[in-house]
């Protein structure tokens, strides 16, 4: 089995943790503003799970790095170029349909990824994945059902869901593009080969979108630059100005 460097492992853990951090933040923006009370409660649940997962991933990232950084330090004190989440996670909420479409497209990947990670050769990663996968199983059932309900609802809800899919589909590809870090993780048996996840993903997503009477856009174009940190969207910086405000304005304080 090949070895991975500490830097590679840190990078991988940031990818996992930044996805949940940034998406959890986005979902939490809904709190108090959802279309029905039950949805408000459900969205808060999802956000809570994602924040909890972030604490585990970024906590482990800090341990692996060995410089004494906590999960909070990593979340609150890095700038945009150090973030490793996929671009899909940082996309704005839009309307409720756009939020649920983003959630479903992410959840389906997340489920496949975490399922594979439960078999990771890295014990702590396998343990985090085992805990998270149960939560994400529930997330994807819920987001999938909502996509179906709204896609196959009224003509207005159908149109809005198709618009959301058209808007967000180009962000799906990035979740499956491997780079040197992913290759190293796969070679060491720490994480799966991302290309292998794609078939699983399509087998999950295609029938749900079909039942929702939605058309997957043609063309394989994929935006990228989030998980490598090379080029995020403009949205991420604004998210950080809120998320990091107190830690930046009052350095050294404990809360």
């Amino acid at each position: 089995m090949a070895d991975v460097t500490q830097e590679q492992l840190f990078e991988f853990l940031c990818r996992m943790g930044d996805n949940t951090l940034v998406l959890g933040h986005r979902v939490s923006e809904w709190c108090g503003h959802a279309p029905v009370l039950e949805e408000d409660i459900a969205l808060a649940n999802t956000a809570l799970d994602l924040i909890g997962q972030t604490q585990m991933w970024l906590g482990l990232a800090g341990e692996v790095e060995g410089k004494g950084r906590t999960a909070d330090d990593i979340a609150m004190l890095r700038d945009v170029w150090d973030f490793r989440n996929v671009l899909l996670a940082e996309q704005p909420n839009g309307d409720f349909g756009q939020t649920m479409m983003r959630q479903f497209l992410f959840d389906a990947w997340h489920l496949a990824m975490l399922t594979a990670l439960t078999k990771s050769t890295h014990e702590q990663i396998a343990a985090i994945a085992a805990k998270a996968v149960k939560e994400v199983q529930y997330h994807v059932e819920r987001s999938g059902e909502t996509v179906i309900g709204l896609g196959d609802g009224t003509s207005e809800s159908h149109k809005r869901m198709q618009d959301a899919l058209d808007l967000l589909w180009p962000y799906v590809g990035e979740m499956f593009v491997s780079d040197a870090i992913d290759d190293a993780m796969a070679a060491a048996g720490i994480a799966p080969d991302l290309a292998d996840l794609r078939a699983q993903y399509d087998a999950h997503v295609t029938p749900v979108l079909a039942e929702a009477t939605l058309m997957i856009p043609e063309g394989g174009f994929a935006h990228k630059g989030g998980k490598t940190g090379f080029q995020h969207t403009e949205h991420l910086g604004h998210l950080l100005t809120q998320m990091q405000w107190l830690q930046r304005a009052y350095p050294g304080a404990t809360w």
């Binding site: 009370l37 408000d40 809570l48 924040i51 909070d72 609802g153 009224t154 809005r160 107190l246």
Partner: protein, 324 residues
């Protein structure tokens, strides 16, 4: 309180009404299918509805800080708290529905201003310390009122209060914990904590409503065990509990007249500005416009979602029937 200045209907003198009152006096619970005077039903709908609306609108001032919470743990705690409040709203709407009014009807009355919510949620949350002050003072004041309401005569309301109270005391402790961290923190944090107390003290006292010791409405509600204590009793209890907590934090209650009174075994304290209270109730509080606008926007923007999900459920049912 979460239900402030709820107007009580008058009792009637029929034999049924007298038998009903006898049940209440004997400490029995009234259940939705039981006979009840029209006035009892109407008053309860007003009170439970207003209470539910307060939980829902109450999500907004705290929701305001979820995206700015300083640590992941604080963010999770705050999010869970606001989620609890939505849950409280849900239990209470369910309790109100047993009286023959739907959640949608109640919601519409909130949105067009026919029904009120607690005055406290029309005050802004300006710093992180406000998350501490709200938990400590606002949830603390709510508990004062809701603990006795666990014994209220209407079964579904009483059971909702039992569930709610467990979570509220948790919220209050979490709020106090935030205040503690701030009060023991950097000079800026301590100043933030004092500033939050300065702004939230009097609005918290207003939560109990103006003195109702001589009010006919309150007397009827108390006979029906819909209201368990007078506003002044609860306010006094709140002050007596809170002042030592503020002292422990090293913060100063913004009331120069505050003084322990040995004779009554409680604090003497200044009344809040009731003129301000009535302005807030009328719609002129610092955030009334924003709060109602936010609820209206959520409702209006959500229409297509509610319609879409309903249409889908109907289609699915129709397909099921066709398949059978």
């Amino acid at each position: 309180m979460y239900a402030q200045m709820v107007k009580s209907e008058a009792a009637d003198e029929s034999a049924e009404a007298q038998a009903f009152q006898a049940r209440i006096d004997a400490g029995e619970k009234i259940e939705p299918k039981d006979w009840m005077p029209a006035g009892y039903r109407k008053t309860l709908i007003r009170q439970i509805g207003q209470h539910a609306h307060s939980e829902i609108v109450g999500q907004l001032p705290e929701g305001n800080w979820i995206t700015r919470a300083p640590t992941l743990e604080r963010k999770a705690i705050l999010l869970a708290k606001v989620q609890d409040e939505a849950g409280h709203g849900l239990y209470l709407y369910c309790a109100a529905e047993t009286l023959g009014v739907s959640r949608d009807e109640l919601t519409e009355m909130l949105l067009d201003g026919r029904m009120k919510y607690s005055s406290i949620f029309n005050y802004p949350t300006l710093t992180w310390a406000d998350m501490g002050a709200v938990g400590w003072l606002v949830d603390g004041a709510a508990i004062m009122n809701q603990v006795p309401l666990q014994r209220t005569s209407f079964g579904p309301y009483s059971r909702a209060m039992i569930r709610v109270c467990k979570e509220e005391s948790f919220h209050q402790r979490q709020g106090y914990d935030i205040m503690m961290k701030m009060a023991q923190g950097t000079p800026e944090q301590k100043a933030m904590a004092q500033n939050a107390l300065d702004r939230f003290w009097y609005p918290s006292l207003m939560m109990f409503g103006p003195s109702d010791a001589d009010s006919v409405h309150s007397a009827q509600s108390m006979a029906w065990k819909i209201k368990m204590n007078t506003n002044d009793e609860l306010r006094q209890k709140f002050v007596d509990q809170t002042v030592p907590q503020a002292e422990y934090l090293g913060l100063t209650v913004p009331d120069k007249t505050l003084k322990w009174n040995d004779e009554k075994g409680g604090y003497d304290f200044a009344e809040p500005d009731w003129a301000e209270f009535f302005e807030v109730i009328k719609g002129n509080g610092p955030c009334n416009t924003e709060r109602l606008a936010a609820r209206n926007k959520a409702w209006d923007d959500g229409k297509w979602v509610r319609d879409g999900l309903l249409a889908h459920a109907e289609k699915r049912n129709a397909r099921k029937v066709a398949a059978e």
